[in-house]
């Protein structure tokens, strides 16, 4: 029997399109390790004067299984929706939920305070708040003559 993976194909297309369109905003996503993810959470990314707020839909995911990192302006959200042991039984009449790993990456502007990032999960929504850092004062560099 052939293994059909239409969801991951759709995810690929989604990721691909997102990448194309998000470039408009200067928020290019990093290439995603397609083959290792099972699903992609939907996100909103908002910017106001003091911070970036990222909201990601991760219903049914244990907050312990979510890993958020911000390194060199690259925000990575990854984790896993584990299947409860019960659901292994086959008396499903309908099954649309996808289990397994998810992964998303975004590049944020450099002016964020990486140490002050905060993340919490409420009602299946992961909320990540990344404060902007104080604008670095421009340093003028003297050009030495020959």
């Amino acid at each position: 029997m052939r293994q059909l993976t239409p969801f991951s194909s759709i995810n690929d297309i989604h990721n691909e399109l997102s990448r194309v369109f998000d470039n408009r905003y200067g928020l290019a996503k990093e290439p995603v390790a397609y083959t290792t993810t099972n699903w992609t959470p939907q996100v909103d990314i908002k910017e106001d004067e003091t911070e970036f707020i990222v909201l990601a839909d991760v219903p049914g995911v244990d907050p312990k299984d979510v890993d958020v990192t911000l390194h060199n302006s690259v925000l990575t959200i990854k984790g896993e929706r584990s299947s409860d042991t019960e659901s292994e039984s086959d008396n499903f009449k309908r099954r649309e939920r996808i289990r397994g790993r998810f992964f998303r990456q975004f590049t944020l502007p450099t002016s964020t305070d990486e140490d002050a990032i905060k993340a919490k999960a409420v009602n299946g929504v992961l909320e990540i708040v990344i404060p902007k850092s104080a604008k670095p004062t421009p340093v003028s560099i003297a050009v030495e003559g020959e």
Binding site: I10, Q42, D57, R95, E96, N123
Partner: protein, 158 residues
């Protein structure tokens, strides 16, 4: 086999594969894709939010119960309106922008906001008066006991 034949076969396989995949996806997901109607009073809605959301659900049948799980992140338990009519489970809900979220501008908006309704056919009649609903981690869980007449009855020998 000529190169052309091989190419034709490969092409046909690819098309078949895509068609199968699409069919599979369609069968699995067509019901979970749900339209969200934006709230009329949300003129302050800062983004052109997505009006289609995926509310993936699951239905499991045991001897005495029907169990339904539906992913609906970002709601609160009072935002749901659930009823059963003629073996159809209607789940209505409304998801709003948090009031303090209207300032600033959005770079990406993929999450859907607004009112939605999802109808899930049930495999048998249930006793809706005895139904229980919980909402945890963005997943709505309903336990609907089957109608008494459909539950297996134990007969005690007197």
């Amino acid at each position: 086999m000529s190169t052309l034949d091989r190419l034709t076969n490969n092409f046909r396989d690819t098309v078949d594969y895509l068609a199968d995949g699409w069919q599979e996806l369609w069968n699995r997901a067509r019901n979970s894709i749900t339209h969200f109607t934006p709230h009329s009073d949300s003129s302050d809605n800062p983004a052109n939010t997505n009006s289609w959301g995926v509310l993936s659900s699951e239905l499991r049948e045991t001897e005495n119960e029907i169990e339904v799980l539906m992913e609906a992140p970002g709601m609160s338990s009072k935002d749901f309106d659930i009823r059963v009519e003629q073996q159809l489970l209607h789940i209505r809900g409304s998801k709003q922008f948090a009031a303090d979220r209207t300032e600033g501008h959005y770079h990406i908006t993929e999450r859907a906001y607004g009112s939605f309704e999802r109808v899930i056919p049930l495999p048998c009649e249930v006793d809706e008066g005895e139904a229980k609903a919980t909402y945890t981690r963005g997943v709505l869980e309903l336990v609907l006991p089957k109608h008494k007449a459909l539950q297996p009855r134990k007969i005690r020998v007197g």
